[in-house]
């Protein structure tokens, strides 16, 4: 009986431990959208808890990215396979994902994001939809509970939260990190005498909270509200008006509208934790779009990630007040 339960748990969730963190990867929702043959092919691989990407193209073999390795399957994908995946990932309802398809991806249950490539249909200089979809990239969402514990002393200061920016190249774990930061800020940390804050996550691409029917499936904390699918600039303003948050968390800022909303949020006394794509603090200073944030001394700390020693390696932390790099203990 116990064995059966253990097998059942393993079937639904793959747990792993890395450096005392608890890694949760929910493969079930991926296998659910795959045709039976591809599902079986996926299960042939070992270490599925390290699965990062599944790349599927018509008339080409499937490529699995497991950890830092690339595994090329012998199975050649056909048109019908892709049609079945498309149907299932959109819950047989393409109309309900029109906006997501325009943006080139759909987020499915479990927070996994599926990128779409095909022929773009243009209307008035804008992408109306993508047809003849020929390739997909399934990016596996993983939750690492406790991955932000080490950096929390840099983010919280007594009872306050420092405005923090995470700078990282793609696939280095910034979304995973920001999700765990949200959990810690929201729940509070007894060790530091830090009581939880009211957090609002502006989750434009449903990656942080991985909401399904509005309910976050990832652990984002007890005081966290998630505004799912909302553009960041509008979402920040909406959250200020409606949820009176103390901390706003959003992923990958980058437009002038985002900057205006952030300044507005700071004027309302709200703290901000966000991320950008980049390789170092220079990227923040170099790009014109962030000039307003730099001029207004918005951020107190910057956390720079890389994947030199595996995904989520903290390269250094930058202190904007002291203008120097800090070592992470």
């Amino acid at each position: 009986m116990v064995l059966k339960i253990l097998i059942l748990i393993r079937k639904h969730f793959t747990y792993g431990l890395r450096g005392g963190y608890k890694i949760v990867v929910n493969i079930e929702y991926i296998t659910k959208i795959l045709p039976t043959k591809i599902g079986k092919d996926l299960k042939k691989n070992d270490s599925l808890n390290k699965l990062q990407e599944i790349r599927i193209k018509i008339n080409k073999p499937i490529i699995y990215e497991i950890g830092m390795k690339e595994m090329i399957s012998s199975y050649i994908v056909n048109q019908d396979d892709l049609k079945v995946i498309l149907q299932r990932m959109s819950e047989f309802s393409i109309y309900a994902f029109e906006e997501e398809i325009k943006r080139g991806y759909i987020t499915i249950k479990g927070g996994h994001r599926i990128g779409i490539c095909g022929r773009c249909v243009i209307e008035g200089n804008r992408i109306k939809t993508i047809r003849d979809i020929a390739s997909l990239n399934i990016r596996i969402c993983r939750e690492i509970l406790g991955c932000s514990n080490r950096i929390m002393p840099y983010i919280i200061k007594n009872i306050y939260v420092n405005n923090t920016i995470i700078i990282s190249p793609p696939k280095c774990g910034k979304t995973t990190l920001i999700r765990d930061i949200a959990r810690n800020v929201s729940n509070g940390i007894e060790k530091y005498g830090f009581k939880g804050k009211k957090v609002c996550i502006i989750d434009e691409r449903s990656e942080i909270g991985a909401c399904y029917k509005g309910v976050p499936q990832m652990e984002v904390g007890i005081r966290t509200d998630v505004l799912d699918g909302s553009p960041k600039s509008e979402g920040i303003m909406m959250a200020i008006r409606s949820m009176s948050p103390e901390v706003i968390i959003c992923d990958e800022i980058g437009t002038y509208n985002d900057m205006d909303s952030i300044i507005m949020a700071l004027n309302s006394g709200i703290n901000l934790i966000t991320t950008i794509h980049g390789f170092g603090i220079e990227d923040l200073f170099r790009r014109n779009v962030f000039k307003k944030l730099i001029d207004n001394n918005v951020f107190k700390k910057a956390i720079i990630l890389n994947n030199k020693n595996g995904v989520g390696t903290i390269e250094y932390i930058y202190d904007f007040d002291k203008k120097n790099k800090l070592e992470v203990n």
Binding site: Q87, E91, F92, S93, Y95, E98, T129
Partner: protein
């Protein structure tokens, strides 16, 4: 005495068969109206709330009478449990499963099948067009079914009694 009881039984039996046969026309009209209502509800779920099909089917099934509600819930279960690869396939199996409770004819079923072939496979404008076409076709079917009902319902009932009476006369 036995003869009288026998005669009565024949007349009652034949009348019952006549009523039953006539009821088919009545039930077809009821089911077509229910189907029409359910498609309008489905259209609202899709066009105004952007509900995904499995959830829309669940919501519609709760508002429909049996067996139309069963068509939706069975199709929904097949989609959710990955038993099928398309909405059309789900409805084909669902119709087959509920066949003995349905009084719809082949043309009525074809309208539903045509709808399910396109359901969920286009943007919202495409879905609106498909719904409009389906509702228009269903309206025609309802009109035909109603005129058939008006023509045949009473006739079947009277015919049942008449046949019973004729058998009794012949036997006497």
């Amino acid at each position: 005495m036995i003869k009288v009881i026998g005669c009565l039984l024949i007349i009652v039996g034949c009348t019952f068969v006549g009523f039953m046969y006539g009821e088919k026309f009545n039930k077809r009209v009821i089911q077509l109206n229910e189907l029409d209502k359910s498609i309008i509800q489905l259209k609202n779920e899709i066009v105004y709330i952007y509900t995904t099909l499995p959830n829309a089917f669940l919501n519609v099934s709760k508002k429909c009478i049996y067996p139309i509600g069963s068509l939706y819930i069975d199709a929904r279960n097949m989609l959710v449990n990955n038993k099928v690869d398309s909405v059309y396939e789900a409805f084909e199996l669902s119709i087959k499963k509920n066949e003995d409770k349905l009084y719809l004819n082949d043309n009525d079923i074809k309208i539903l099948s045509d709808l399910t072939k396109n359901l969920g496979e286009s943007d919202i404008e495409g879905q609106i067009n498909i719904f409009e076409l389906t509702l228009k076709n269903l309206e025609k079917q309802i009109k035909t079914a109603e005129s058939l009902k008006n023509k045949n319902l009473k006739m079947c009932r009277y015919l049942g009694f008449t046949v019973g009476a004729v058998i009794v006369i012949i036997l006497i």
